[in-house]
């Protein structure tokens, strides 16, 4: 029977969220899940850094302002140290800005283009170096709204500190203003500033 333990670490200073998570994981005594709530993205990064070192499966998402959820999923062999866990630094953000201006990636089949773009955003979550910001505009605006297939990946990126911004004019034009499900709304002034000040702009 898989257990589920909730840890409230809201308001706790580092390293307490990690200390509490470690204690809950040891109480699992086998397979199960531990959910940790924290109130800042640095604490999320320290929790996911531990998960990477121990080889735990994890996901992270931003629930609301100052409320983030990190979920650890453990198999049976919890106590076995993951000596060969890859040493990488996936929490480091770069000065790269990703601009997504359409619902598809590349030209050609629309169906393929949608699949490719979803795969691209998933692949972003797996990068050692995360982008600083992802901008969504015009045909891309629907991707941050309810019903989008990539919401979970975007929420994970946001929890890791990646800024998710969607063009407000575009949401308004497509009637999606009330449907935004991840990140925040922005304007053309900010979009122009982000693009011109980026070290790198990636347009999939």
């Amino acid at each position: 029977m898989a257990e589920f333990i909730k840890v409230d670490a809201l308001g706790d200073a580092c390293p307490l969220p990690v200390v509490k998570a470690k204690k809950a994981i040891s109480e699992l005594q086998g397979a199960g899940q531990v959910e940790v709530l924290v109130d800042n993205e640095i604490a999320v990064q320290n929790l996911t850094k531990m998960a990477q070192q121990k080889g735990y499966q994890y996901s992270a998402e931003k629930l609301e302002e100052r409320k983030y959820r990190v979920l650890f999923t453990l198999g049976e062999a919890v106590s076995a140290p993951a000596e060969d866990a890859p040493v990488c630094t996936p929490d480091a953000r770069t000065d790269t800005v990703v601009a997504i201006s359409a619902a598809v990636m590349g030209e050609g089949s629309e169906e393929l283009g949608k699949t490719l773009l979803k795969a691209f955003v998933f692949a972003l979550t797996q990068q050692d170096k995360l982008p600083k910001t992802i901008l969504f505009y015009n045909g891309g605006a629907a991707l941050t709204c309810e019903g989008s297939a990539m919401l979970e990946d975007l929420k994970e990126l946001e929890a890791q500190g990646v800024e998710i911004l969607t063009c407000g004019t575009c949401l308004n034009f497509y009637g999606l203003t009330e449907k935004l499900a991840v990140g925040s709304v922005t304007n053309m002034y900010t979009i122009a500033e982000k693009l011109t000040q980026a070290g790198n702009v990636v347009k999939p």
């Binding site: 390293p15 640095i42 604490a43 953000r93």
Partner: protein, 345 residues
Amino acid sequence: MSKEDKIVFCTGGGCTAKLGAGVLSRILEKLPRGEKDPDLLVGYDSRDDAAVYRITDNIALVQTVDFFPPMVDDPYTFGQIAATNALSDVYAMGGEVKTALNLVCFPEDMDLNVLGEILRGGAEKVAEAGGSLAGGHSIADSGVKYGLSVTGLVDPHRMYTNDTGMPGDKLVLTKALGVGLLCTANRVGEAAPEEMEAAIRSMTTLNKTAAEISRKYRVHAATDVTGFSFLGHLHEMMGGKLSCVIHANAVPVLPGAQKAADAFLYTAAGQRNRNHTGPFVRFENVSFAMEEVLFDPQTSGGLLLAVDPADAAALEQALCAAGLPASIVGEILPKQEIEITVTDK
């Protein structure tokens, strides 16, 4: 609002309480500077440790201020550490300490003897530095904070700046790393008493001796390693025009610091340092715990010196003979694609 507008506090004492370098530089960039004064030799434009203002051809003022919340329980020890840390910036510029002013935040309902002990610890360090305590300012506040504004003198021709190293220079570090991790481990009861004692000895050791010894050698650049971590201050030392290689095995580390990192006792400031400086660093076969040590915010850390390669071994020897855990930790290279390479070789 974008989340970058929000300050994330993860409280902890000492230099772990510093705001992240990323947040700070965005604010500082936008400040009005006023007319440029040719006698202001080191100011906002540089990311140096202290401001330097020329009075005559051979005399310049060195001004610095530093204060933070306690990172140890004992008030007298806290006072010593805060003062040692504040005085350090003058040494990092190659200066001599002259006067110091106390800065105090203290709760009205707390025992005033505690404040007395903090100030006693600070005053002793100012005296040890050869300076005079000349006054101060205190504020009633919810939490304790203490530090000093320190003024020193330096010959502008002999002042140390942090980004004037040259390719070929050896990098010498004068104190062991890991005090941030150890203080954090101590707060959750996971640091051994002797490990914490060693960390406190390190934090209360003035950089005066290291600075005086370094004067006898061809030092091209210097900084002190504090809240932005060894790699963060090294990144400032590279100044966008140099690269370097660091030999992880040669870097002095306090006992227990890697163990704390292996137990995931990460600080918030350490993670902020990783976010800020990580993109400039490549690690080659370096353990994750050692990476954490290199990103660990240091309270009252040592000096990091860029020294002429012909002088490096003699400087290292002289520092060690004075009882400092100094070590040649790497070398400056001409600018390359990767700014800082850390290897296990």
